[in-house]
């Protein structure tokens, strides 16, 4: 469920990824270059969707979509 929401969010925030098939083991760097702007977009949209404030450094530790999903889930449960 969370994975589906995250993939939908990425497609919405980065329309250029709509042609890409994103799954849990897709490398984030392969679909979104992690520039400062793109990191800010991800942080903002994830906070709005999941009510989770990620640190930029935590985001950079995530290689795959699944890693990011797990991170959001962990922080969600901590709260």
């Amino acid at each position: 469920m969370m994975l589906e929401k995250l993939i939908k969010l990425i497609h919405e925030e980065f329309p250029e990824t709509k042609g890409n098939y994103i799954e849990d083991n897709t490398l984030i760097q392969d679909i979104i270059p992690l520039t400062s702007l793109n990191i800010a977009i991800l942080l903002t949209s994830i906070e709005l969707e999941f009510d989770v404030v990620l640190k930029p450094v935590s985001l950079r530790t995530c290689n795959t979509i699944n890693d990011l999903c797990k991170l959001i889930s962990i922080i969600n449960n901590e709260d």
């Binding site: 977009i41 903002t44 404030v53």
Partner: protein
């Protein structure tokens, strides 16, 4: 209230990006179509002098009427002395005129207003001028993304004591723990302790992602407290706009109506402490009668200020495009 900004404009379409996608993402999320810039040819003081003069003419005030000047900028002509003394010299303000300089960025308009109002009360000031704003001379050109955000603008705002007692609600929040998020690291005495004085540089660096964390973790809870503490309902919110994405984020989290939160980001970019007054100038149609407004600013420090007040229609409003 008068705004002065360079007449020259940089259109975002003219800027270099690594890819077309990057450009489109920038335009869509940051929301800046153009910025006014002097390309390093004008300082905040240059624009401030123009705004100050125009304001005095428009209100038919003489320089000898001014009892207090509060200058807010982080791009003053010199580290020492502050710009207020240069305004006094160039405009021939009275020698007994009170002069105050605040070194502040995006939070500066509200901080400047509070300083002016409290000093004005203490000193029984009749007429005062607040001058706020920056030019982009000090941004870090090697950081291409932040270098595309900042526009040049300075606003001069006149205050006159009246018999009407205006009540206001003010709240502030400061997080010095995160002072290095927006910093001119190679400036000042601390840098000289361990480095060659000849390598001093006033260039300002900003970590945009950490600014977002500050907004999400500190500014939003602060604003929720502010909202819960005031009795009157705000009719219009004039909010500092670092970029469109953060602006929309704040509005969404606070459940404020977009129509009540006017913006200028598309045409001016992030214009530091001049953002709020310039937004008021651009949207004076909202203040055709007495209104309850809230002014929300946040930035370097890190800091955040919120002020709710009633605002009557302004006596004089103008904008001046300055030749560079």
């Amino acid at each position: 209230m008068v705004a002065a900004y360079p007449i020259d404009v940089v259109n975002t379409d003219e800027l270099s990006f690594n890819t077309i996608i990057e450009r489109e993402t920038f335009k869509r999320k940051i929301g800046i179509s153009q910025r006014h810039t002097s390309n390093g040819r004008l300082t905040a003081k240059d624009l401030g002098i123009v705004a100050f003069r125009k304001l005095l003419t428009g209100l038919d005030w003489g320089v000898s009427d001014i009892d207090l000047v509060v200058s807010v900028t982080q791009s003053s002509d010199f580290a020492v002395p502050g710009n207020s003394f240069l305004y006094q010299k160039e405009l021939k303000l009275r020698e007994s005129c009170h002069l105050v300089d605040l070194n502040s960025g995006c939070t500066g308009f509200v901080q400047g207003m509070i300083t002016l109002l409290s000093q004005g009360e203490f000193l029984n000031i009749k007429k005062a001028i607040l001058i706020v704003g920056d030019t982009d001379i000090l941004s870090d050109e090697t950081r291409t993304e932040s270098n595309k955000l900042i526009g040049d603008a300075v606003c001069a705002i006149a205050f006159e004591k009246t018999d009407v007692c205006n009540e206001y609600v003010y709240k502030n929040y400061n997080l010095g723990l995160e002072y290095s998020t927006i910093i001119a690291r190679s400036s000042g005495a601390r840098y000289c302790v361990n480095n060659n004085k000849n390598s001093l540089s006033p260039v300002i660096n900003m970590d945009g992602s950490r600014v977002f964390s500050f907004i999400a973790e500190n500014v939003i809870p602060f604003l929720k407290e502010f909202e819960s503490e005031k009795e009157d309902k705000t009719e219009y919110y004039f909010i500092h706009q670092p970029n469109l994405m953060f602006h929309q984020y704040i509005i969404k989290k606070m459940n404020w109506e977009t129509e009540r939160c006017p913006t200028i980001i598309s045409e001016f970019g992030n214009v530091s402490s001049a953002t709020i007054p310039l937004t008021i100038i651009r949207h004076t149609k909202y203040i055709k009668c007495e209104r309850i407004i809230s002014l929300i600013s946040f930035g370097v420090g890190l800091s955040c200020s919120a002020l709710q007040m009633s605002m009557s229609p302004l006596d004089f409003v103008d904008e001046i495009g300055c030749l560079c």
